[in-house]
Amino acid sequence: MSREDDEIQVLGEKTTSRKKIKKLCFLITIILIILCSAGYLIWNKRILNNTHLKNIPETQIQVMHHPDSVHNCLIDITADTINDVPLTIFKLTGAYAQLTIGLPDTTDQQIVLALPAADVRKDKLNILGDFIINGKRLGSGKRKEGCVLINQGALWLGLDQTDESCDYCNLHQASMFRQYPLVINGQVYSNKLKGKSLRRAIAKQKNNEDIYIVTSNQRESLHDFSEALADHGFSNAIYLPGGDAFGFYHKNGQIHYIGSSMDYIYPNSSFIIFK
């Protein structure tokens, strides 16, 4: 028997039958779903827009540019443990960022810190993801949504799933590479990468021009690492190749290695360096 067969109704009385209630509930549910979806889309759009290039005034990048910063970059190293994740935090003040191809000169004292940037495919040895140096495109792909954009030494970290950052680089002769986003607008960005490893990230805080390089002292999952970064107060953080990948910094005239493995150094290997 159908639902209607299970109902009674006293004639002349306005009754809300079960079917009507069901219809009403269904309609309310549909309306709620539509409202929630619209709300989520608007909210999501706002989140994306906040990290999007079009909302970053060009002047903001130019303001961050320090022409004489080559001689003024300061490095400050601290250790902290967030949520049982021990971190080493390299704070770079007045840094002039640069993207390069090939191993940087370790004897160049002007280089305060250098770390691998984009990933390189082991078989074909090509750079993974959009990769542009001074407006010249050397790699393409948008699978990694995190974007590190460098314009005249100034750095922008964020999320860009479009060609906007590439167009920006072409227009301004800027540089960029793509990696996994870890923290966007203070929120952990979920990544599907599994497993534990020594992690590295480049991060920034809101309304703070300092650049932070953060490394985990233990093997961590990407999620735990991202959570630690967000809890530490970084507004945006992008993944950098971790493990024992070659990287170094200079402090007090001495070179210190963050990683020493040359296993994955290819002719196409890229580095982000800070002077």
Partner: protein, 122 residues
């Protein structure tokens, strides 16, 4: 005041006192009114139309009728017995010669039983 309902079509008009109707059963586009003297009157309305006629013409008095499911309207004044396990509804009264036993869904009968029980509480 005794209320009457008038059912008319192109060919005929039937005038029946509401209290005479024991139940109305429908078979698609036809509804059969069974009266207390076991006489039947078939009209070419479906049950929803029949329900509207009762509600329009009887107004408040229409509440003596209860629709059960899609195909049955009963006069509650004639309800004699509800048997949930057998899923039967017996309509009987001193005016009726014998009784009418109808079948309905268990859930509908349960609701009817609850409805009548709530009348006692009032």
């Amino acid at each position: 005041m005794e209320q009457t309902i008038i059912i008319s079509n192109i060919n005929e008009l039937v005038r029946i006192k509401a209290e005479r109707i024991v139940y109305i059963i429908s078979d698609g586009n036809y509804s059969t009114l069974t009266l207390h003297d076991r006489s039947e009157h078939v009209c070419t309305f479906n049950l929803s139309r029949m329900q509207k006629i009762l509600e329009t013409q009887l107004q408040k008095e229409a509440s003596q009728f209860i629709r059960i499911g899609k195909s049955l309207i009963i006069n509650k004044n004639y309800i004699y017995k509800i048997n949930l396990s057998k899923q039967t509804l017996t309509l009987s009264d001193i005016k009726i010669c014998g009784s009418f036993t109808l079948s309905a869904s268990k859930e509908a009968l349960k609701q009817l039983k609850n409805y009548l029980e709530s009348d006692i509480e009032l």
